[in-house]
């Protein structure tokens, strides 16, 4: 697999390139406002979320600091405060706020944060898995059979069989929950590993092979976890007799 480093460098360059005020054409020195005319500036679309929210590119984050920064930036950009400004400024405020909200939501959630970091560092978040990972193959196969049997028993209104398979599915669920917990523990270990290397060598190219090893392992793990989550959601929906909810 190819982990190109171009993305990261390109992002930094583009971020630097944003330097002319849309309104007075003077050089923008402040972060979000023009130093000359004090008009709000559109955030570069290439600005990465970590930089935007003032965080180092680490996976263990200070959630209180993240929230404080989010609130602070919301007070700077929210459309509420641009009601009496020009149409252009209102549009910029809307765009900046939307980007801020996405950035905050992404970094707040550890899984989304990791997927985002993978995307930044290695180009793509994860492989989309359509077949079960090797070490889950047997269990998933058995689960599918139980699910099938449960569905046909309940549609045939066979109370005994339904109860039997419900009990079985509940056991399956518990087992898969444990598997997920194990994955999460492993993921936490990878977070720490990444953070250690990244803190030691924040430059994109430094310790690249080590970084890529961690990223590769993380990508694999996240793909398996996503697969497991969708199986679990399906299982919960079947047990509750409701409709599959696609949220994770």
């Amino acid at each position: 697999m190819d982990y190109g480093h171009d993305t990261t460098n390109k992002r930094t360059e583009l971020q630097m390139a944003r330097s002319m005020c849309w309104h007075c054409q003077s050089e923008v020195t402040g972060e979000y406002y023009c130093g000359q005319c004090v008009k709000v500036q559109p955030l570069s679309k290439e600005l990465d979320y970590f930089t935007y929210l003032g965080l180092p590119r680490l996976l263990t984050i200070d959630t209180a600091a993240l929230e404080t920064k989010y609130y602070e930036l919301s007070r700077s950009f929210h459309p509420d405060f641009f009601q009496n400004k020009t149409e252009t400024e209102q549009q910029i405020s809307l765009g900046n706020s939307a980007l801020l909200n996405t950035a905050y939501r992404t970094l707040k959630d550890p899984i989304q944060r990791a997927e985002y970091l993978l995307n930044l560092e290695a180009g793509s978040a994860k492989d989309i898995r359509n077949s079960p990972p090797a070490d889950l193959f047997e269990e998933i196969l058995e689960l599918q059979e139980d699910l099938e049997a449960f569905r046909s028993a309940s549609s045939a209104r066979d109370a005994n069989e339904t109860t039997r398979y419900r009990t079985k599915l509940l056991a399956d669920r518990e087992h898969l929950d444990q598997r997920q917990q194990a994955m999460d523990a492993k993921l936490a270990g990878l977070f720490t590993k990444w953070d250690t290397i990244q803190s030691r060598a924040p430059q994109p190219d430094a310790l690249r092979p080590q970084k890529d090893d961690v990223l590769k392992e993380m990508r694999e793990l996240l793909s398996n976890r996503t697969y497991l989550r969708s199986i679990l959601n399906d299982l919960v929906a079947t047990l509750e007799g409701g409709h599959a909810d696609r949220r994770h």
Binding site: P79, Q83, L94, A98, N101, R105, H243
Partner: protein, 605 residues
């Protein structure tokens, strides 16, 4: 420029403003701040509010209530509750149309009449023209319902600077007035809708964590349950089917509401109905226990959304610091008990649950105008937004409970060589299949004819701070943006709204003029016929010159009737009455004489 806050409710509406740093509701005549959301189109013109409510029983076919239930909906959506609505509904372009007399109105037009009344009320009290407003909607309102509300404002001549959610508005009022902090749950059960919102209040930031609800569950439904019992009982005891009488149905509905409200304070209450055709009076005693047994299931239906909202916020009931009650239906002791049991907290209702939403709307108006500082509301979109993909499956673009404004970009291309358009169907909802979700709108992307897969059109879906979707498209190759004609599935088109704005100004004046003309002509016809009859019977009883005066008056009235001037008709009617006054007296005497002659003396009183 002042911005007012408006709570456009199912049952009642209110308008509020910021008096310095304090939000205040504006009271009308008799110090009542609540304006019943009822519109009556009477012979004497358009009536809104309390006086219109009186017309519900007297003239149900011309009196529209609970119109909020129809906002942003098609006819099929409300099929099961038409029984109580005495007016004829139809559908045009995916929008319900309400037929009142000879005219049909869309729900936003009716809502606009209520908004205009509130606007005028504020103008009288504040001595200035009101043109900007924040209007509240149920948090669980979908895009179509929000857009319909915005349209109503536009038709009423208001610039709707922001649509905000009712429970969050309530939170703003509590945050400002009661200095509430921490994680709070707002339970809002109104006249027609239910919302639950979980918020985090910290240092002036009001961050909504999750929201859920049911836009078709409220006080109206409680009334219907009680009304059903009355209807059934009347059928059993009097063999009378009240459903056949529009007037009686409204009387039952209103009496059910009154009884329900009464039982919030009392242990027993009596519903009293005048039966139609003077067949007597019906009475039925209700106890609070009875009401609670009848409505228990409805209250239960609010708890599912509460649990889901907690789950979506990643919280347990014990994580909630405060519970706030909003909406008139939270006065019911049963509701309070259930909410208290769910959250294990005594809920708050320090601020009047009928007024708190309007107060919050005023606070948001204060924030927008810059007068209220340090506060910021970060709200969420209540429903997932997506587009239709192959196989009738919805692909989610923006998930529910995402903080707004929020945007996402999607790239579209073609499947066939030379294809010049891509059809996009926008949906809202949580289900897998397109058919189980709500269709919002459709539009067609224009694509230059190129080999399949070559065109690259980037579409941006943006939900703004009002929770309303905006769609823009850009050709990546040419960097050209294209304008989209988004056709709403359940909404008025821009042209229709434009036309309705014009109509709304004309309506008030035209309606009155037309009605006065019709009335004057009808009255003229009655007088002409009556005088004709009288002359046949009595021309021999009056002198020739008197007869000539009457004939002259009659032809003048005939002539006036052909004009459009109701005042002239009225004047000729008055003259004719004057001219025939003596004739009428003479006839009266004459018929009395005849009556006496035809009767035996003993039969006289």
């Amino acid at each position: 420029m002042r911005i007012v806050g408006i709570d456009l409710g199912t049952t009642n509406s209110l308008i509020a403003y910021m008096d310095g740093q304090t939000p205040r509701v504006i009271a009308g005549r008799g110090d009542r701040a609540m304006v019943p959301s009822v519109v009556a189109m009477t012979d004497n013109g358009l009536i809104v509010g309390d006086p219109a409510k009186e017309h519900l029983v007297r003239n149900p076919a011309h009196t529209v209530y609970s119109v909020k239930r129809f906002m942003g909906k098609g006819l099929a959506d409300v099929a099961d509750e038409l029984k109580y609505f005495p007016y004829t509904l139809s559908e045009q372009g995916g929008v319900i149309r309400i037929k009142v007399g000879e005219k049909t109105y869309s729900p936003p037009q009716i809502s606009a009449m209520i908004l205009k009344e509130l606007k005028q009320r504020a103008e009288v009290v504040l001595h200035e023209e009101i043109s900007k407003a924040v209007i509240t909607v149920p948090a669980y309102f979908n895009d179509s319902q929000r857009q319909a509300t915005k349209d109503a404002g536009t038709i009423a001549g208001l610039d709707v600077v922001r649509i905000i959610n009712e429970p969050t508005a309530a939170a703003l009022a509590y945050g400002l007035q009661q200095r509430t902090q921490g994680t709070i749950a707002v339970y809002d059960l109104g006249g027609g809708t239910f919302d639950i919102s979980i918020l985090k209040l910290k240092d002036g930031i009001f961050e909504v964590l999750s929201t859920n609800g049911n836009t078709h569950l409220g006080g109206d439904d409680f009334d219907h349950v009680v009304a059903e019992v009355i209807l059934k009982d009347v059928r059993a005891k009097h063999s009378l089917d009240l459903e056949k009488y529009d007037e009686a149905m409204q009387a039952v509905r209103l009496e059910a509401e009154r009884t329900k409200i009464c039982l919030s304070d009392e242990q027993t209450a009596t519903a009293v109905i005048d039966l139609p055709d003077g067949t007597g009076t019906y009475r039925k005693d209700f106890s609070r226990d009875q009401l609670e047994a009848l409505t228990g299931e409805l209250v239960e239906r609010t708890l599912g959304p509460c649990r889901q909202a907690l789950k979506d916020a990643g919280l347990q009931p014990s994580d909630i610091d405060e519970v706030i009650l909003v909406g008139g239906s939270t006065r019911m002791p049963l509701v309070r008990r259930r909410v208290q049991a769910l959250f294990s907290k005594v809920p708050h209702s320090e601020l009047n649950p009928d007024e708190v939403v309007a107060l919050g709307a005023a606070v948001q108006a204060g924030i927008l105008s810059g007068g209220t500082q340090g506060m910021l509301l970060l709200d969420v979109t209540p429903l997932s937004l997506g587009i239709e993909t192959i196989g009738g499956v919805m692909s989610t673009l923006i998930r529910r409970n995402t903080t707004i404004p929020s945007s996402t970009k999607e790239m579209f291309t073609t499947y066939a060589d030379g294809q010049t358009g891509v059809d996009i169907h926008i949906l809202q909802g949580e289900r897998e299949l397109v058919k189980d979700n709500r269709s919002l709108a459709r539009f067609r992307l224009k694509v230059p004819p190129l080999p399949a897969g070559v065109p690259r059109i980037e579409v941006t879906f943006l939900i703004d701070a009002n929770g309303i979707l905006n769609v823009t498209a850009r050709d990546i190759r040419t960097k050209q943006s294209q304008s989209l004609e988004v056709k709403p599935s359940y909404g008025l088109t821009d042209d229709e709204v434009e036309r309705m704005i014009g109509d709304s100004f004309k309506f008030a004046a035209d309606d009155l003029k037309a009605r006065q003309l019709i009335e004057a002509r009808t009255e003229a016809d009655a007088i002409l016929t009556a005088t004709d009859k009288a002359l046949k019977r009595g021309n021999h009883l009056i002198r020739a010159e008197e007869l000539a005066t009457i004939r002259a008056a009659l032809s003048a009235l005939e002539a006036a009737k052909k004009t459009d001037d109701h005042r002239a008709i009225r004047a000729r009617i008055a003259e004719t009455e004057q001219a025939t006054h003596h004739l009428a007296e003479v006839l009266m005497d004459d018929s009395l004489k005849q009556a006496l002659q035809n009767k035996k003396l003993s039969e006289l009183p």
